[in-house]
């Protein structure tokens, strides 16, 4: 496989890898490093890539495992990931500025979710994968995924409703 082929294969889902990494690692720099690591790992095995049935699903699984390992090693070494994503370049439009606070609040709520639920919400609500694909990526059955997802969504709703009604922060 040549470099151009590899790039065109990886292009469609590299952002998804990055977003999943960022969801788990929070820090943008950490997520960038993780994404780079994963793409390089894929590139190293580019001869075997043809054998994988679904490179994208495989990469997402790799990302998940890699990030969880990262988190584990960070916790073991008593280091906390410090993130300094002070500016959010996504909310650039004027009418989004008002809603920015509450939108940021959602990301904070998501940070508090257990890892498993974070991953599932990320894959389902943001990347819009089928339950089937998610089941393959996470090596879980569909029912378990639905249960976790339902829990996560209800947690988000609960916390959102609380802030909306009482302004708790």
């Amino acid at each position: 496989m040549k470099q151009a082929d590899f790039v065109s294969l990886v292009m469609p889902f590299k952002d998804k890898v990055f977003r999943l990494a960022k969801r788990l690692l929070v820090s943008r720099e950490e997520a960038e490093d993780a994404t780079q690591e994963i793409l390089l790992k894929l590139w190293k095995n580019n001869k075997k890539i043809g054998d994988y049935k679904n490179v994208e699903a495989f990469s997402m699984t790799m990302t998940k495992n890699f990030c969880l390992d990262r988190l584990k090693s960070k916790q073991a070494s008593n280091l906390k990931i410090v993130h300094s994503n002070y500016t959010d370049n996504n909310t650039s439009l004027q009418h989004q500025v008002e809603a920015k606070d509450s939108v940021d609040w959602v990301s904070k709520i998501m940070e508090e979710l257990p890892e498993q639920q974070k991953i599932i919400v990320q894959l389902r609500d943001i990347e819009e994968y089928d339950y089937d694909d998610i089941a393959k990526m996470l090596d879980m059955n569909e029912t378990a995924i639905r249960v976790n997802l339902s829990r996560a969504r209800k947690t988000i709703r609960e916390k959102l409703t609380n802030t909306h009604q009482y302004g708790i922060k």
Partner: protein, 163 residues
């Protein structure tokens, strides 16, 4: 009617029973401007999901291809060849044919030198002739001076005679 539908969808959504299509419908509704006040608090969630979708990985990945490693080895090979080119001939020394050629050239130059030296010797003998000529001229000049003294003496004699 629409609100009823949305409410149902939201309920299904929280039970994780919605399909991708239905979720897209919800997202479209909450990203729009006409969100009913009773659902207002869901808005940031769906907006956040839609925004997060747009985040991109912008860093370049330095893909080291196999080619570059090949290029590296080519440079190593080039250096090796260069070293061989420098070292081997000095070990091997000149070949037999080269030796003969060198001898031939040596002989030719020696011949040429001997010819030159012959010419030089001829020139030298001519130079000795010239020196002889010079000597003769000196002798002549001496004789001429003798002649001078002779003439002064004759002049003196002539003076005495006239007195």
């Amino acid at each position: 009617m629409v609100l009823n539908n949305i409410e149902k969808l939201i309920e299904k959504y929280h039970n994780a029973e919605t399909s991708i299509k239905e979720e897209a419908q919800l997202k479209a509704y909450f990203n729009g401007d006409s969100v009913a006040p009773e659902f207002e608090h869901y808005k940031p969630m769906f907006q956040y999901f839609s925004q997060s979708q747009k985040e991109q990985y912008t860093k370049d990945v330095p893909l080291k291809s196999k080619k570059t490693t090949l290029y590296q080895w080519i440079s190593v090979a080039a250096v090796a060849v260069l070293m061989l080119g420098l070292v081997v001939p000095s070990f091997m020394g000149p070949t037999e044919a080269e030796k003969q050629e060198a001898l031939l050239v040596y002989n030719q130059t020696m011949e040429a030198f001997s010819l030159i030296s012959l010419g030089m010797n001829e020139g030298k003998t001519q130079l000795t002739n010239l020196a002889l000529v010079g000597e003769n001229i000196n002798e002549g000049a001496q004789q001429a001076s003798k002649l001078g003294t002779f003439s002064t003496i004759t002049n003196k004699i002539l003076k005495n005679n006239s007195n």
